[in-house]
Amino acid sequence: MNERVVVDPITRIEGHLRIEAQMDDDRIAQAWSSGTMVRGIEIILRGRDPRDAWAFAQRICGVCTLVHGIASVRAVENALDYEIPANAQLIRNLMIAAQYVHDHVMHFYHLHALDWVDVVSGLDADPAATAELAQSLSNWPKSSPGYFSDMKKKLKNFVEAGQLGIFAKAYWGHPAYKLPPEANLMAVSHYLEALSWQRDVARLHAIFGGKNPHPNFLVGGVPSPIDLNSDSAINAKRLSQVQDIIRKMQEFVDQVYVPDTLAIAGFYKDWGGRGEGVGNFLTYGDFPEKGMSDPSSYLIPSGVILNRDLSTIHDVDMNAADQIQEYVAHSWYKYSGGKEQGLHPYDGETELNYTGPKPPYEHLDVEQSYSWLKSPRWKGQPMEVGPLARVLMLYAKGHEQTQELVGHTLKTLDIPVEALFSTLGRTAARTLETKIIADNMQVWFDNLIANIKAGDTRTFNEVLWEPSTWPGQARGVGFMEAPRGALAHWIVIENQKIANYQAVVPSTWNAGPRDTEGQPGPYEAALEDNHVLHDPEQPVEILRTIHSFDPCIACAVHVTDPNGEELVKVKVR
């Protein structure tokens, strides 16, 4: 079997992703990752009011629904040297953190779980034994035999109705599924509970931003004012709703998400030995206590780890022309200086140039260009971004809670520290950082309350709101740690309008194609690390590793107009 396996669409992700894998017998020899959809939000941003940019940029992605809005307002504020009030910083931290907790839990249960959980096997579960299992893991109240008996009945009725809907044609009964029926029934029950829970906790965004998905933001602060004597502002009722949501988030993470991750991982320890990726990790840092201008106050530090070496953390300079660069050797774009060079986002020069096969097609020509994503590199090196990068950075920098959680996880699973560099490690890291961030939400909320008690209710800085107060030219970078990894937007402002807008996003770092040197991106490298397919028609092994990155591929957009003039670009997860 030396065939080319194609998986398109990769489902249970955001966006349009295609994987092609060249088999050597039953083992993946080479893999190629292709983003197959482009929109053009970059060109659309050009010439607009920079204060409007967040709303456009936010539509890059509706899953990580606030991250591009945050990166955008930070880019404008960085360009204008625009300080925001302390309360606005805290409210943004709470909103970003809520996004993490919400998004990571949904990823685990609704996007990733079905790679590990056999839904149909749950029909063979004994409800009493399932309850015993669940109660051994945590104090979660919905763990009684009666509850699981009802869930089993619901599942049975659904399957026997003969219309499996979203569960049809999947891989039920595949030998790669290792969970006993009871663990499967418990996980299916939590799949449904998490759907209900996420709906409830998403309200935090509605309180501060009016709606979710796509809450509202504001250059210079946040839109929601604080006034304890108003029925139309953040008041005691709103604050108690927020406190209630933080508590519900922490409960679900502590009593369901963390125990489920460890319990399921215990049956899949061999996945700690494959799917490593490139071994290099990048973070920009986030969650400032004292504003973006003071990196020492960030909860998540910035840095680069090379070749698994946790003893040396390299500094990242967002503005240095020779650090962050993008390549298009295998992307459907042109560079005027030739496809081999790498360009810093400020010097970015791009032109849409689809040279792939005419649809409908069977295979991509991977020797040529094969993706709408570019290949970002740090000093020429491919980098993995995301939960594993952050947990390693926190761990390497001596963050106490991280070290405890990582130690506990390795001990519970009885696996060596090297197992972190794997599909299993990536998925576990996502769970661990969710706990760290959920716990910190209480700290930021308490600080917000303390500020209000001390009489500081400011949420907006008016001083630079009017574009007439701005310099004729300004440029800046807004960065953050999105749930899927390091995200940055670069903006150039001329005469109060956007002259250039560029984003390098997490899933481009992770899902991008090979570069000029032929170095694979992290998805590609991870699939080339020790993957044997039991049945190419049921490629659950590919899904496990790809989903461990939590892909978000909404689009990759780099466009020049027909006159050759460079336009803004936004590359999209």
Partner: protein, 364 residues
């Protein structure tokens, strides 16, 4: 097949034996990757009424509409997918990938031909088929194929309904809406960026229970898009009194006065935000202190800055012709036609509105 017939009845009427029917059930079990032991149960279920099949196609989109669906408090997404409908194809939620996913779509289209509901989110790029593909198939081809056997189409979100952000000036990929391409099927537009969660499920429930809802001139159900946000806004009394927030976090903003002067598009935006609100009735943008962006109206991205009081769209009528030129005459003509249509419809609804005009209107 008549509407009230079960599959079993229909097959028997066509002279297919019990044995043939069981063979069909075995094939169904195999199609769903279920063990053979499930066949009798499936046969029994197929003798009963079936849940309506829904096929959901995602094109140039950000998945915000699917995220919104999962936020619906009534009906919930779990009630929908377990009890009400059979969601046979949906990229973000479905378990199978690749061939399995495409087989499920094709099987559902064949089995439920003429009866399934097609939901689309995202716009469709027509300048180059390579701009967006799924399983190697262009979005336009996949839409046309799936639309042919659909009973009706629901265009979810402003991108599918009106072209949305991909179609914003200068529309680099030649993005068009569902109704720009499909002319021979009933289409319900459910715009918004994204639409309100319970509006998505509300429209679906309406369709499945009562048939096609009554629509406005833009194809939107009157039940959810019949009134302007301004007319239903709880801040309207402050507008009537002439009390406005002048900037964010000023006295007026804190007291909940009207956001008109900060750019609120509520007066020209038809949607249920002010009545239904978002996230189980928690809030809506104006309540959280931010002016309405106007996201359920065509061309709202090109209607001037979000922070300027209402104005007419600034887009150029010829905005896409440059890009379309390289993509073939037919595509160019189609895009130009789309632009003319949107330009004229946008002009109708985004007329320049001043405070004086609104005051006159409210007094008359």
């Amino acid at each position: 097949m008549k509407k009230d017939q079960t599959l079993g009845e229909a097959l028997r009427l066509k002279g297919i034996s019990r044995r043939g029917f069981l063979k069909f059930c075995a094939a169904t079990a195999s199609m769903m990757a279920l063990p053979p032991a499930m066949v009798p149960a499936i046969a029994e279920a197929l003798e009963k009424a079936r849940k309506p099949s829904v096929i959901w196609l995602s094109f140039q989109e950000c998945t915000g509409c699917t995220e919104s669906l999962t936020r619906s408090s009534t009906s919930t997404v779990e009630e929908l997918i377990f009890d009400t409908i059979s969601l046979d194809y949906h990229h973000t939620l479905q378990a199978a990938s690749g061939t399995g996913a495409e087989d499920a779509r094709e099987a559902s289209m064949k089995e439920n031909r003429g009866k399934y509901v097609l939901i689309v989110d995202g716009s469709i790029p027509i300048s180059n088929p390579g701009y967006s593909t799924i399983a190697g198939i262009s979005n336009e081809d996949m839409l046309m194929e799936a639309a042919e056997g659909a009973a009706a189409i629901v265009a979810i979100g402003s991108c599918a309904a009106f072209g949305g952000i991909p179609q914003a000036r200068p529309n680099p990929t030649g993005a068009v809406s569902v109704s720009d391409l499909i002319k021979d099927k009933p289409i319900v537009n459910v715009p918004g960026c994204p639409p309100i969660p319970v509006v998505i499920t509300g429209v679906l429930t309406h369709f499945l229970t009562f048939g096609l809802p009554e629509l406005d001139h833009l194809g939107r159900p009157l039940a959810f898009y019949g009134n302007s946000i301004h007319d239903r806004c709880y801040r309207r009394p402050f507008y009537d009194k002439g009390l406005f927030a002048e900037t964010f976090d000023d006295e007026g903003a804190r007291k909940g006065w009207c956001l008109y002067k900060l750019g609120c598009k509520g007066p020209t935006t038809y949607n249920a935000c002010a009545t239904t609100k978002w996230n189980d009735g928690t809030s809506f943008p104006i309540e959280a202190g931010h002016p309405c962006l106007g996201c359920s109206e065509p061309d709202f991205w090109d209607a001037g800055s979000f922070y300027q009081a209402l104005s007419t769209p600034t887009g150029d009528i010829t905005r896409n012709t440059l890009y379309a030129a390289g993509a073939g005459v037919a595509a160019g003509a189609a895009i130009a036609a789309v632009n003319r249509k949107h330009r004229s419809s946008a002009e109708k609804r985004h007329e320049k509105v001043t405070i004086d005009d609104l005051e006159k209107e409210s007094k008359s």
